[in-house]
C-alpha cells in the first residue's frame, strides 16, 4: 500500500470514528440539554407556574446544601439500609429458589401458588399489612422490597434455568459432574445472563418500592423527607431531592453495567 493510500484509509477510519462518536456522545447530550433548557425556560416564560416546576437554576443551588443537612443525610442512610437489606434478601432467596423450581417439579408445584399470590397483590398493600404485623422498623420495609424484587428475580432465574440447553447438562454429567453439583457448576452460570437481566429490573423496582413505601409510612427515609418538604411548600427542595434520587438511580444502573462487563466477560451481545 502506498503512503497516500494509507493516509486515505486512516482518514476514512477517522471519519467513521468521528461519526460514531457523534452518534454515541453528542446526540444524547443534545437530548439532555433540550430537557434541561425546557426545565429552565418553561417556568421562566410563564408557560407553567414556578410552584409546579421551579426553574433549574433555583433547584441546582439547593443540591450542595442538602448534603450538609443532617436530616437529609440520616434519611438517606435509613433508606440505603432498608434498600440494601431488602435487595440482598431478595437476591439470596429468590435466585436459588427460581433455579430449584426449574429443576424440580415438586418444588415448583409447592412454590408457584405462593408466587402467583404475591405477584398479583399490589406491593403497596403489603406495606400496610407488614407495618401492622412488624411495626414501622427495618423488618417491614425491607420485607416489602425483598418480596417486590424477589418476583422478577425468581421468574428470571426460573426461565434462565428452564431454558438452558439439555446437552450442556448432559455434557457435564458425561464429564463426571454429579446431579447435585450440576446446579451450581452448570445450571447457575448458564442461567446467569437471564438472571442478570432480572436483577436490572429488580434494581429499578427496588427504588420505586422504597420510595412508595416511605411515602406511605412517613417515619424515616428519603421518601418521608421529601414528602415533609412537599407539605411545607418547599418545592425547589422537593425537586432537588428528586434530582438526587434520579441521579442515584442512574448511578446504580451505570454501576450494574460496569460490574457485569467486568465480572461476566463471557456474556454474548449487549449488557
Amino acid at each position: 500500500m502506498t503512503t497516500a493510500a494509507v493516509a486515505a484509509k486512516t482518514a476514512d477510519t477517522n471519519t467513521v470514528q468521528t461519526r460514531h462518536r457523534v452518534r454515541q456522545v453528542v446526540v444524547p447530550l443534545v437530548t439532555l440539554l433540550v430537557v434541561l433548557a425546557a426545565w429552565e425556560l418553561l417556568p421562566r416564560l410563564g408557560v407553567v407556574r414556578s410552584t409546579v416546576l421551579p426553574p433549574l437554576s433555583t433547584v441546582l443551588p439547593i443540591l450542595p446544601s442538602l448534603w450538609v443537612d443532617t436530616a437529609f443525610v440520616s434519611s438517606l442512610g435509613a433508606s440505603a439500609l432498608r434498600w440494601s437489606v431488602g435487595l440482598a434478601l431478595a437476591i439470596v432467596i429468590a435466585i436459588p429458589l427460581g433455579i430449584v423450581m426449574a429443576r424440580s417439579r415438586t418444588i415448583f408445584a409447592f412454590v408457584n401458588p405462593l408466587m402467583v399470590l404475591t405477584y398479583s397483590v399490589p406491593k403497596a398493600a403489603l406495606v400496610l399489612i407488614f407495618t401492622l404485623w412488624f411495626g414501622v422498623g427495618l423488618l417491614s420495609s425491607s420485607l416489602v422490597i425483598a418480596i417486590g424484587c424477589g418476583t422478577p428475580l425468581i421468574i428470571s432465574a426460573y426461565h434462565g434455568a428452564k431454558g438452558i440447553n439439555t446437552h450442556l447438562v448432559w455434557s457435564a454429567s458425561a464429564l463426571g459432574t454429579s446431579r447435585h453439583d450440576v446446579l451450581r457448576r452448570i445450571v447457575f452460570p448458564a442461567a446467569l445472563p437471564e438472571i442478570l437481566a432480572g436483577l436490572r429490573t429488580a434494581l429499578q423496582l427496588s427504588l420505586f418500592i422504597l420510595l412508595a413505601s416511605e411515602f406511605l409510612i412517613r417515619q424515616t427515609g428519603i421518601g418521608a423527607y421529601m414528602f415533609n418538604n412537599l407539605d411545607v411548600g418547599q418545592y425547589p427542595t422537593v425537586w432537588a431531592i428528586m434530582l438526587t434520587v434520579a441521579a442515584i438511580g442512574v448511578l446504580l444502573d451505570w454501576l450494574y453495567v460496569r460490574l457485569v462487563r467486568v465480572c461476566v466477560p463471557w456474556l454474548e451481545g449487549e449488557v
Binding site: W170, A174, L175, G176, P189, V264, E268
Partner: protein, 265 residues
C-alpha cells in the same frame, strides 16, 4: 496432528441389547426404536447411519445413559452401564462448550471433576488443544471461536478425560463442507492414534464410509437395524484414494439403496 497424547485406558465394548424406546407423549405414545441389538467392538469405529428423525440420536443417548430405554439394557464391557460418566465421552452436534469458561478451562473441566490438580490438568488440556491445533486460542472464550473451532474444542474436552468409548452425535452436521472434511480427517487421525471405540451418528453416507469399520444402517421410524455393512476399504484412507477405489462406488450405491424406502429402485 501430533501424537503426543496417548491413551492410557484400553478401549471397551459397548452394547445395547433389545433396545426398545417409546416416547411418552401423554395420550399418544410414539415408538421411536423397535428392538435393536447393537455392538461396538473394542477399538472399532462404528457408525449409525439413518434418515433424519429415525431415532439414531435417541439410540446414542440411550447408549450414553442420558435416556433410560423403555426396554433393553446397555452393557459396557459386559457389565450393566450405569448413569453417564467419563467412561463414555460424548460430542454433540451443537458443540455446547461452557460459555463462561475459557477454552483451556473447558478442556480441563472433566479433569477438574476427577480431582486432578490445576497445574497438571492445565498441562493436559493444553496438550489436547495442541492436538486439535488450537493451543493459541487457549485463553479465548467460546464466543470468540468459529463453529469448526468450537467443535474441535468440544472434541478435545471429551478426549481429555480419556474415555473408553467416544460417542459422537452428528458432530460435523452443523459445519460448512470444507470445515467438515478437515475435521473428518482430524478425527480419523485421532482415532488412528488413540484406538478408541467410537460410535458415530450421521446421516451422510460418504462420512460413514470414510470413517467407519462397520455401519449400522437404520430404517425409518420406528427404528430397526436394516443391515450391518462392513467397510473393507484399506486404511489409512484419504478422500482421494477412497473416491478412486471402485469398491467405494459400489459400497456407496449399496448403502444409499438401503436408506431408500424400497431398495433397488
Amino acid at each position: 496432528m501430533s501424537s503426543t497424547t496417548t491413551s492410557t485406558v484400553s478401549p471397551k465394548r459397548l452394547e445395547g441389547r433389545g433396545i426398545r424406546h417409546v416416547f411418552d407423549g401423554g395420550k399418544s405414545s410414539v415408538p421411536a426404536i423397535e428392538g435393536i441389538d447393537i455392538e461396538a467392538r473394542p477399538g472399532e469405529f462404528l457408525s449409525i447411519l439413518g434418515p433424519s428423525g429415525c431415532g439414531k440420536s435417541t439410540l446414542l443417548y440411550i447408549l450414553a445413559g442420558f435416556i433410560a430405554p423403555t426396554e433393553g439394557q446397555v452393557l459396557l464391557q459386559n457389565e450393566v452401564a450405569g448413569p453417564p460418566g467419563p467412561e463414555r465421552g460424548i460430542v454433540f452436534q451443537d458443540f455446547v462448550l461452557f460459555p463462561w469458561m475459557s477454552v483451556v478451562d473447558n478442556v480441563a473441566y472433566g479433569l477438574r471433576e476427577q480431582g486432578v490438580r490445576k497445574a497438571e490438568r492445565t498441562e493436559i488440556a493444553l496438550r489436547y488443544l495442541q492436538m486439535v491445533g488450537l493451543e493459541s486460542s487457549a485463553q479465548s472464550f467460546p464466543k470468540e471461536l468459529s463453529g469448526g473451532m468450537k467443535q474441535r474444542v468440544a472434541i478435545a474436552r471429551t478426549l481429555a478425560t480419556d474415555p473408553a468409548v467416544l460417542l459422537m452425535d452428528e458432530p460435523f452436521g452443523a459445519l460448512d463442507a470444507l470445515t467438515r472434511s478437515i475435521l473428518q480427517d482430524q478425527l480419523s487421525d485421532v482415532w488412528t492414534s488413540t484406538k478408541k471405540t467410537v460410535v458415530f451418528v450421521t446421516h451422510s453416507v460418504e462420512e460413514a464410509i470414510f470413517l467407519s469399520d462397520r455401519i449400522y444402517v437404520m430404517s425409518k421410524r420406528p427404528s430397526t437395524v436394516r443391515e450391518i455393512v462392513n467397510v473393507e476399504l484399506p486404511r489409512p484412507r484419504t478422500r482421494e484414494s477412497m473416491l478412486q477405489d471402485p469398491a467405494y462406488g459400489s459400497l456407496h450405491e449399496h448403502v444409499r439403496g438401503l436408506l431408500m424406502d424400497s431398495p433397488g429402485s
